[in-house]
């Protein structure tokens, strides 16, 4: 910025975003072997691994180390040049361990990972004692955010209060159910269908990731714009037969249909 503006900064701001972070899966729990192996990796690619935040996956170890033992392992990783920031994989013991170490447990992270990779890799790579497998005692798996998959088994996301002007509600990978009104200038978006049990005065965008079979339902149609899988219609003037009526909208080829539900 070439010119600065003085603003009253808030004390803090909480922001959520997706970041890529490495998952460090330990196959041995010997601190010295670990230190040497990680130090070697860091030396080989200091830009990539030097002070890289990692999430520690202890699920491959023959048994879960206790807190004292884990502290030694964490210290070994830090000494070698990486920065462990949490534990992955949510089991009851793991959770207790994370609590004791005052580290966050990234359960969801692990869940996505498991579903993708499956468990067969466990059979391919059984834990081996350190002295018999000096190489590749640790494995760095790069976790990138996975594209959402639309699973029919997943229930819709419910939104119980009014969506006001300027607000956006997004149901990622599923349907969105709104039990209240959607005001002018508000936006409701879903990768699946959208059901609004109230007035829709704002915008509704279904099939946001391209699902052309998604539909939009609402009880009181006053929309500014509706869209399914990228095909949209702007309602500059609401057709009299639709205004204020319960409607459904669906895509037929390139054409976006809107029809009264009970005519």
């Amino acid at each position: 910025m070439r010119a600065t503006i003085t603003t009253a900064e808030p004390i803090l701001e909480l922001k959520f975003g997706q970041v890529g972070i490495a998952n460090l899966r330990l196959n041995v729990d010997d601190a010295e072997t670990l230190r040497a192996e990680i130090a070697q990796k860091v030396a080989a690619a200091p830009h990539l691994f030097g002070r890289a935040p990692v999430i520690l996956d202890l699920s491959r170890l023959p048994r879960l180390p206790d807190a004292a033992r884990t502290r030694i392992l964490l210290q070994a990783i830090r000494d070698a040049g990486m920065l462990p920031v949490g534990l992955s994989y949510s089991t009851t013991e793991n959770e207790a361990l994370a609590r004791e170490l005052e580290l966050p447990l990234l359960a969801k992270f692990r869940a996505v990972y498991e579903r993708q990779g499956g468990d067969e890799s466990v059979a391919d790579n059984p834990p081996v004692p350190a002295n018999r497998r000096p190489r590749s005692v640790s494995k760095v798996v790069d976790e990138t955010p996975t594209p959402p998959t639309i699973s029919p088994a997943m229930s819709g996301q419910r939104h119980g209060s009014a969506v006001r002007s300027g607000q956006q509600v997004y149901a990622r990978g599923r349907d969105l159910i709104v039990n209240a009104m959607v005001g002018n200038g508000a936006e409701v978006i879903a990768d699946g269908s959208i059901h609004i049990y109230g007035r829709l005065s704002g915008r509704a965008l279904a099939g946001a990731q391209g699902d052309a079979s998604a539909r939009i339902y609402c009880m009181d149609f006053q929309a500014e714009l509706i869209s399914i899988a990228g095909r949209y219609r702007v309602f500059e003037d609401l057709p009299i037969e639709l205004r204020g009526k319960p409607i459904q909208a669906w895509l037929d080829g390139e054409k976006l249909h809107v029809e009264a539900l009970f005519s």
Binding site: I5, S165, G166, N184, A186, E224, Y232, E236
Partner: protein, 270 residues
């Protein structure tokens, strides 16, 4: 040569958007090619005043983030074919605007032979207001005849002289115009309101127009027709005078004196 005009005030609720809409229409009525841009990201109103709120598909933030072309986002006015509206985004905040992005949009409008680009500033002196004024060639500072509005305008005039491209690159001063709105001669006479002379003296610049307080403004806003198109309202006529003066015409101030009430008006009220 495209001229960028910022409509700003510092204080909220003084009539920036009403002024931007009427100014844009007034210029377009005189055959100029005009774009009016809403910089109030998150609290957009200009589209309502211009009566095109149901035609907004893409907005200013979409253009800045290269999510659509400028052409797709410009909404053509229904009454004037040489007038275009660029709406603000309601679902974003002012940080979505970037200086480079704003500059690119203004350059694209200049390349497209627009005569005037009217930038409707948000209230305050934060990022949105700063970006609205940064590229200005002219500024219309909207002020109400009351002390807090006058003080905020003073602050804005200071920023116009220091925090704009012209101030930084030495392209000559931003031309400043003062527009006094919500002026009520009766209340000035009774001493409740600052007079034109008071405001001009405090701020040290002359007014380019005085818009009387008028019921026509509210009615116009609610119906989505800029008040300048209401030729029966005093505010509409005063805006037309102000636009003429901006373009160099000489016009005497109107509606600035207390109108003497006739006998019947005194008996039955106005």
């Amino acid at each position: 040569m495209t001229e960028n005009i910022v409509v700003t005030s510092g204080k909220g609720g003084v009539g920036k958007t009403t002024t931007s809409a009427s100014l844009a229409v007034g210029l377009a009525k005189r055959g100029k090619k005009v774009a009016v841009i809403d910089f109030d990201v998150g609290l957009r109103n200009l589209d309502l005043i211009m009566g095109c709120e149901r035609r907004v598909v893409y907005d200013f933030v979409n253009v800045i983030h290269n999510e659509c072309t400028l052409k797709q986002a410009l909404i053509k006015d229904k009454r004037h074919e040489n007038l275009y509206v660029l709406a603000a985004s309601q679902t974003r905040d002012k940080d979505a605007l970037t200086q480079d992005g704003v500059q690119r949009v203004l350059e694209e409008l200049a390349a497209d032979d627009f005569d005037y680009v009217v930038c409707d500033s948000p209230a305050g002196i934060e990022k949105g207001a700063f970006l609205a004024m940064y590229f200005a060639d002219r500024a219309i500072v909207v002020v109400n005849p009351e002390v807090s509005s006058v003080r905020d305008s003073d602050r804005i005039l200071g920023l116009l002289a220091s925090k704009t491209r012209r101030a930084e690159n030495g392209g000559g001063k931003v031309q400043e115009h003062l527009l006094l709105t919500r002026y009520n001669p009766a209340r000035v006479a009774s001493g409740d309101m600052l007079s034109i002379a008071d405001v001009e003296e405090i701020l040290g610049i002359k007014v380019v127009g005085v818009i009387p307080e008028s019921e026509g403004v509210l009615a116009a806003s609610n119906s989505g027709v800029p008040v300048i198109l209401d030729e029966t309202s005093t505010a509409g006529q005063a805006y037309d005078d102000a636009v003429a003066r901006l373009l160099g015409d000489e016009r005497a101030l109107r509606f600035t004196d207390v109108q003497k009430k006739g006998f019947f008006q005194r008996v039955f009220g106005s």
